[in-house]
Symmetry: C2
Subunit: 389 residues, 2 copies
């Protein structure tokens, strides 16, 4: 069991109508706000007006950057960082899902440096010494960006999609109002739920001994998604379902469940290549990859972890051979993604063939190997991609 | 489901040898430290010397207040607050279990006011506007004071034992080193484990609908204590057992599991009267009270919560009548406290009779009724005390 440092000083307002605290929280950081958001959905649901009213009431001067893309682009980050510099911004307000919040994090860091923000992501891995404060209003339960210190940004020129984690970009305050996710459609609800589960699975499947208590938490969160994702899809305005998914999305990836475990992930690096090249929804890519990756990695040395997963998350009968239980667990997850949530189950259905698999595997492995639950060579990764066809 | 604000900005260094970060953390707050501790146990285990060395290395000037009692007294708080004023203290370092940390919290608040610190607890409930920063080094897994904003202080002159919660007294940094609990004896390990479980049970037994995810977390924590408390008693230097108990103690009461639930507790107020009058170990009082309280409150309207507890924590067979399952759950908890952990099961065994029950019930009810999972009149509380004889 390794040592760790726990340090997650994000203040969260959870529940309906908590936006009445938005003005007072922004005011703590200054008066000039850069508000970032994606397409027009926040206007459709009336959130834009509510946020603007609240900010005006508190005498805040608001600048706007809209059009942040799903799989957000480095150009948006560059634009935002420049706007912060040009307008002497005090605090950034990200209103949206993980893409908007992720991009905003690196605008906040980019505002404090003279170099291109892409240097945070490319081989330079430029140091982040500070960032402007960030406040977020979440509208999609998925990435957990509202309570974590990381983000993923795409560069279409180089076909790169790269993540970066730094404590300076942790949001200071996040507003989590489950009713703001009522308008998330079935498909996005399903993909967000897969993303949440994947964040947990990436940590849970690990043979390093760590805290049993954290394994219990992870199983609880997986059970929560299995229980509530289908309800949220059928009844989009079911508060209980949306609330459980929302709070789980934050705790799946804020670092708490890691404990002292090494944090090397497997499915996310493989998926980032998929969505970098094909711009597919991140959660859909994860759904297709995860059960294949689990199947590919299963062996006698790690079967116990699969058994724990199958029994404690899906209630598979424990009185069977370990391998049987393990495979049943994978099947239950597969059925959950593709039957219960109704997602497409193969890359072929998405029109994706094997043309780029070698390149993608190269990048997923950082040119070497992909360390994780089981270390994967580029050939291993290609085989897993092929299992998804 | 009610709204809530999540805000727990405590930084935790978890694991062995993390004290190498103590000096740098204290230095962030200044150079003049008041170090508080209880009896000589921190000297016996070599912790005193280690802490002193680390502080000297960082040029800190250290003042000491030792002798903080279990069930800490208001006189210790008064003394500490005065020492802070007299010596222009910048930061308090509490080294010990919950009693030392609890008392230190109100020294830190008391240092910032002119009135008697007991005014924080008595009917005046004096406002806390600020407190000196607090750093803690935990040596006993039980109260969770290392990561929460509350504390309980006794006043032997008035036979009062009163709790107070205020965000200003939340520790800034806490050091959780499981090896520092290796020397905790079997009895204290058992009592600490009961305290942890009680903090969870006080929240878990609640008929307000809240987040399912948090119920899963609570069940996971209860299972963790059930699994590791007996191991820690048999093998006092089992790192895994001590680590799981330690991190669970913090999360049982830092506020996370509350979600939006009303926070009225039942067994703690009843126990505080017991230990105020008889100075018994808090965890032992809780062990004796909790199963009786559960039995007393059980009825057709709340049986579902007991069933959930019995099945998910103790694995009781779910294919039985709800009342049968519920009673089996209570029995399992009773057996865990008094057989597995080997604690005394009645007040009679502690030499406690019914003389003060009426007074204690009056105080536990704040002169009126004790609100909680089931609202209890003073007569109800007396009956529960009598069930413990």
């Amino acid at each position: 069991m390794n040592n760790f440092v726990y340090d997650i000083p994000v203040k969260v307002y959870f529940g309906e109508n908590q936006l009445s605290h938005l003005g007072e929280e922004l005011n703590k950081f200054g008066t000039r706000v850069l508000m970032t958001y994606g397409g027009g959905s926040i206007k459709k649901i009336g959130l834009y007006d509510k946020v603007m009213d609240e900010m005006k009431k508190h005498g805040l001067e608001v600048f706007e950057l809209s059009g942040i893309e799903p799989n957000p682009r480095i150009d948006s980050v560059r634009k935002g960082a420049q706007m912060c510099k040009d307008n002497n911004i005090d605090v950034l307000l990200a209103v949206g899902g993980g893409s908007t919040i992720d991009a905003t994090k690196f605008m906040a860091a980019g505002a404090c440096v003279d170099h291109d923000p892409w240097d945070f992501f490319n081989e330079k891995r430029a140091k982040i010494d500070k960032a402007l404060p960030i406040v977020s209003i979440l509208t999609l339960s998925a990435t957990g960006s509202e309570m974590d210190a990381g983000g993923v940004v795409s560069n279409p020129e180089t076909n790169d999609k790269i993540g970066r984690v730094d404590p300076h970009v942790l949001p200071k305050v996040s507003f989590l109002d489950p009713t703001l996710t009522y308008s998330v459609n079935q498909y996005q609800t399903a993909c967000g739920s897969v993303d949440i589960m994947s964040h947990i699975i990436e940590v849970y499947f690990n043979m390093e001994p760590d805290l049993f208590m954290l394994d219990c938490f992870m199983e609880g969160m997986l059970k929560t998604v299995v229980k509530y994702a289908p309800i949220a899809m059928k009844e989009p305005d079911n508060y209980e379902a949306r609330a459980n998914l929302m709070w789980t999305s934050s705790w799946a990836i804020n670092g708490f469940i890691n404990g002292g475990r090494a944090k090397a992930w497997s499915c996310h690096p493989m998926e980032h290549q998929l969505s970098a090249v094909y711009d597919i929804t991140h959660g859909l890519g994860l759904a297709i990859l995860t059960p294949r990756w689990m199947e590919y990695c299963l062996d006698e040395t790690n079967v116990s972890k699969y058994v724990q997963f199958a029994v404690n998350v899906f209630g598979v009968d424990a009185n069977q051979e370990p391998m049987t239980i393990a495979k049943e667990g994978i099947k239950r997850l597969y059925d959950f993604f593709f039957k219960t949530l109704g997602l497409k189950s193969t890359l072929t259905e998405l029109g994706i063939g094997k043309e780029h698999f070698a390149d993608m595997a190269f990048k997923a492995c950082g040119g070497k190997i992909l360390k994780g639950f089981k270390n994967l060579t580029q050939e291993d990764v290609i085989k897993i991609y092929e299992m998804c066809l």
